[in-house]
Symmetry: C2
Subunit: 157 residues, 2 copies
DNA sequence: ATATCCTATGTTATAAAATAACATCTGGGG
DNA sequence: CCCCAGATGTTATTTTATAACATAGGATAT
């Protein structure tokens, strides 16, 4: 891993630790390990992928252990869930109030998380008009990233 | 069923038939039946609920049959999939170019589909800035509808 | 210190959602 | 009529997620 992502990783872990302390919650070894793994991955990963990685490390947790850790991290806003992919991904806007808006390349799965402020405004508005109160939202956008667009053109000219 | 929804049902089925004809595709009995069931339901329903209903009717299809029908209906844009709920719902804006934007009451599951034009514009914009080309998007908004807000207040004052 | 309680984790089993792989049917074009 | 592509049937399996109950471990009060 390069210096940049290493910095990012440690900064995120420090942030998570402080947040947990502030909220009187425990960032236990399993939770910490799962968060670390998610931060290190470039792409969203599934619960069972995480499970397999832990098994390789010697730990042998069962599915509920992973799902409980994921639930915790979701609740604290440290990670997001991409429902169309059955995947989880570390939040890249920790500490910033935002809505989960994701561009996902449907070919290589490269994922970019946006802040989605203007979308949030629109949604609050439209929810209001329909007498719904917005609680939380998930926006998943199936895309092609630039390299995959080029590749696609080469594949099917 | 009241006259209004009956009209809606038959109008939708007629629309689907014409569209299939125009595209040289077959709205087979299974596909037709699944679409009918989805239109009749007020809330999004799961593939296995649909399966159970067909079993009750005497038909005894296996999961692949339902999923193939659902895939067909999704491709034709007659229905949408709500990924966070593992549910499917009939499109309420047939014939209108739109993006799937859903307000879903997290208590009673009442669901409203919006056209989402302004959100689409925003997303195209932001995808562009990130060198992604938008293909399709899913926006699911967890909400509380007005009656459920009131109920919630009564439950937990 | 230790009893107690709450939270987290371990463990086993199972439910729920989706798909793979292959067989069979069917209906429209030659 | 025959053929073939597309649709459905069938069986088995994979993938994702949770239920239910047992155990451990850390903070708090006494």
């Amino acid at each position: 891993m390069d210096k940049q992502s290493s910095n990012t990783l440690s900064r995120i872990m420090t942030y998570a630790e402080k947040e947990c302390q502030a909220r009187s919650l425990r960032l236990t070894p399993v939770r910490r390990r799962v968060l670390e793994m998610l931060v290190k991955h470039k792409h969203p990963v599934s619960a069972y992928q995480l499970l397999d990685e832990l098994v390789e490390e010697g730990h042998k947790p069962a599915p509920p252990t992973i799902y409980r850790a994921l639930d915790f991290l979701l609740e604290q806003g440290f990670i997001h869930r991409l429902a169309t992919q059955n995947n989880f991904v570390a939040c890249t806007h920790l500490g910033t109030l935002h809505m989960g808006v994701f561009l996902v390349c449907k070919r290589c799965k490269k994922t970019v998380e946006l802040l989605g402020d203007s979308i949030r405004e629109t949604l609050v508005d439209q929810a209001d008009q329909n007498e719904f109160s917005l609680e939380e939202a998930l926006v998943e956008v199936n895309c092609l990233c630039q390299p995959c667009q080029s590749q696609q053109e080469r594949d099917q000219p």
